[in-house]
């Protein structure tokens, strides 16, 4: 049952991506601003402009442009960025790891904080402190990541300057990297000073992304823990004399985890979407920041490439969550 649903989801991916591609393509072509106008030097002749338009295929009819673009994308060619004059594929490939590392750190932070708050909340069940914790949690949930980014920037960048508020790595640390996964690479090559500096730069933006997500995980997990604790198996374990901590650990937690993963997993895409603004606010060199520049510069090929990248990530994440739930849930293991 569940597995066939996943297969069906797989089959829907190509049309979804095609839809995303078509919408972005059409949207960008009705933009009033002309990308060529932004790259020509003043005093270029109309012939030069026409030549440039032809070079980027902008003189073709819309449908022809779309078909050409689709054919290229299918063969792995995402075109050349107009503003940066490099292959879109290479540009995105160089920036994507920065975003993935940031998002991964944010998810890890959020899970740690969220699980901790949920467990503490469950132990405090029925007390006045629980009410306080729930209220604070609601506050953290209501404020979105980019506002947290501004608050953290103001707090720990300006008023109490503890952490760097811009960039990915201190430029004075002139280090050469083989890959674009700086954090993973510096950890693997045991350059811990570099890793520490990377982490210092990532801490505020990832915290901004993590706080609302942690609050969500905490709320969902706490509700699930409460529900699981009322179930027969937990009551029976209680009657058999197991301590509350043991029951929480052995019986309640594993069962509360599955719905929490299912419900919060989808929200990871929101966290990923949040990187666009948070990266912008902290001048972090990931694909989100690059996307805003691309929109401002009317860089069609780059915007298309970046939005498709995000779409693929979103769809892949949703599928991964479904698979994870299927793997975690013993009832579905033999389905």
């Amino acid at each position: 049952m569940r597995w066939s649903a996943i297969l069906k989801r797989l089959a829907l991916i190509p049309p979804t991506l095609l839809g995303v591609g078509a919408i972005v393509f059409v949207l960008l072509r009705v933009v009033p601003g002309d990308p060529i106008a932004m790259m020509i030097p003043p005093g270029a002749s109309p012939a030069d402009i026409a030549r440039l338009r032809a070079l980027y295929g902008l003189d073709q009819p819309l449908l022809a442009q779309f078909v050409t673009w689709l054919g290229q994308v299918a063969s792995g060619d995402f075109g050349r960025s107009i503003s940066l004059r490099q292959q879109v594929f290479e540009l995105v490939g160089a920036r994507l790891p920065a975003t993935l590392e940031l998002a991964a750190l944010a998810v890890a932070l959020a899970l740690m904080m969220g699980v901790a708050v949920a467990v503490v909340g469950s132990l405090l069940r029925g007390s006045r402190l629980e009410w306080l914790l729930d209220t604070a949690n609601g506050f953290f949930l209501a404020i979105p990541d980019f506002l947290w980014a501004l608050i953290l920037l103001l707090g720990f960048g300006v008023l109490l300057p503890l952490l760097p508020i811009s960039g990915r790595l201190d430029p004075q640390l002139a280090v050469a990297f083989r890959t674009h996964f700086y954090l993973i690479e510096s950890l693997l090559t045991l350059r811990f000073d570099v890793a520490a500096d990377l982490l210092r730069h990532m801490l505020l933006p990832s915290l901004a992304l993590a706080l609302p997500f942690a609050a969500l995980v905490a709320r969902l997990l706490k509700a699930q823990l409460a529900e699981a604790e009322d179930q027969d198996y937990a009551q029976i374990a209680h009657t058999r004399g197991f301590s509350r901590t043991t029951i929480l650990q052995r019986e309640v937690f594993p069962n509360a985890l599955i719905p929490t993963v299912a419900l919060s997993g989808v929200q990871v895409t929101l966290l990923l979407g949040g990187t666009v603004l948070v990266e912008r606010i902290f001048s972090y060199e990931g694909i989100g920041n690059m996307a805003i520049d691309a929109v401002i510069n009317r860089d069609f090929p780059l915007i298309q490439g970046l939005i498709l990248t995000f779409a693929v990530l979103f769809i892949a994440l949703n599928l991964a969550v479904d698979l994870l739930v299927a793997v975690l849930d013993p009832r579905l293991r033999h389905g």
Binding site: L12, V295, I307, I315
Partner: protein
């Protein structure tokens, strides 16, 4: 005792309201007060603002709030880098925020509810097309989509509203679709069909009224989101332009001089936070107050 018996049937509607309000609890009250405050400030900004929001006074630029050292009583919350009164700009920005929130969320709601109802009630091809459309929409990063949209349409209030409507109709459509399906599966919907109501009549007379609590809740939440989107678009530089005051614009301006005058960025952030918390609490409170399931 007699009093109780007498008041029973007569005051039934009143007590239903009262119990609904009680279920809403503190969230409903606090959220309602915050939102009412926001609406009042937006409505009466020209009356209560101490200055014209566009009035520049370069001689008294970047003044700190009156309660800080160096502040002046004429500018209770200080001035920005052009010497404009921050308090007045905050108040006029509330107008921008409320206009965007009201118009954008109503339009998003109308489109989303219409599509969600049709998809949920009729199934088949309509459902398939709406669901696929939602799938495509969900594959976009919402922030990026609204930025691209606003860039396409050009800066201005209309562009901000359009960006919110085009991105956020799915919030309504998804939930209304699911809820319509759930309601149609209930006995009362089947009874309506047995009574001879057409599908459209049953939708209008039976299903839609039962969706109202959900819609009200979604609207409150969406208004908070709309205020945030305006801030986002301002931050990227494609929201309202020129002299129109907006919290997002103030935050963006404040960001540039955050080291010299941090309060210029901090105050509009605070205004946004209070509004968003207000709408969230109101939404939560309304959900608790109106949802019959939560009566247990």
């Amino acid at each position: 005792m007699a009093d109780l018996i007498l008041s029973g049937p007569i005051s039934a509607p009143a007590s239903r309201w009262r119990s609904a309000l009680a279920r809403g609890g503190a969230r409903l009250w606090i959220g309602g007060v915050l939102v009412a405050l926001l609406l009042l400030i937006a409505l009466f900004a020209p009356v209560i603002a101490p200055h014209d929001p566009a009035e520049q006074d370069l001689m008294s630029a970047q003044l700190p709030p009156a309660f800080m050292r160096g502040g002046e009583a004429a500018f209770p919350l200080g001035t920005d880098s052009l010497g404009r009164c921050v308090l007045s700009r905050l108040m006029y920005s509330a107008r921008t925020a409320v206009s965007v929130a009201l118009i954008a969320s109503l339009l998003a709601a109308i489109i989303g509810i219409a599509l969600g109802l049709v998809a949920g009630a009729f199934g088949g091809v309509p459902d398939q097309s709406v669901s696929r459309l939602i799938d495509v929409w969900m594959a976009f990063p919402p922030v990026l989509l609204s930025i691209v949209l606003a860039a396409v349409i050009g800066a201005g209030l209309v562009s901000v509203i359009a960006a919110i409507v085009v991105v956020d109709w799915t919030r309504f459509a998804r939930i209304i679709r699911a809820e319509t399906q759930a309601q149609l599966a209930r006995d009362y919907a089947a009874a309506a069909r047995v009574l001879g109501l057409t599908r459209a009549q049953a939708l209008r007379l039976e299903i839609l009224p039962n969706l109202v609590p959900l819609i009200v809740t979604l609207l409150a939440v969406e208004m908070g989101i709309a205020i945030l989107v305006e801030v986002i678009l301002s931050f990227v530089g494609i929201s309202v332009t020129g002299d129109t005051a907006s919290w997002g614009g103030m935050i963006t301006e404040g960001r540039q001089i955050v080291y010299q005058a941090p309060w210029i960025m901090a105050l509009p952030i605070l205004a946004v936070i209070i509004s968003v918390i207000g709408f969230n609490l109101l939404g939560d409170g309304l959900r608790a107050a109106l949802d019959p399931v939560q009566r247990r």
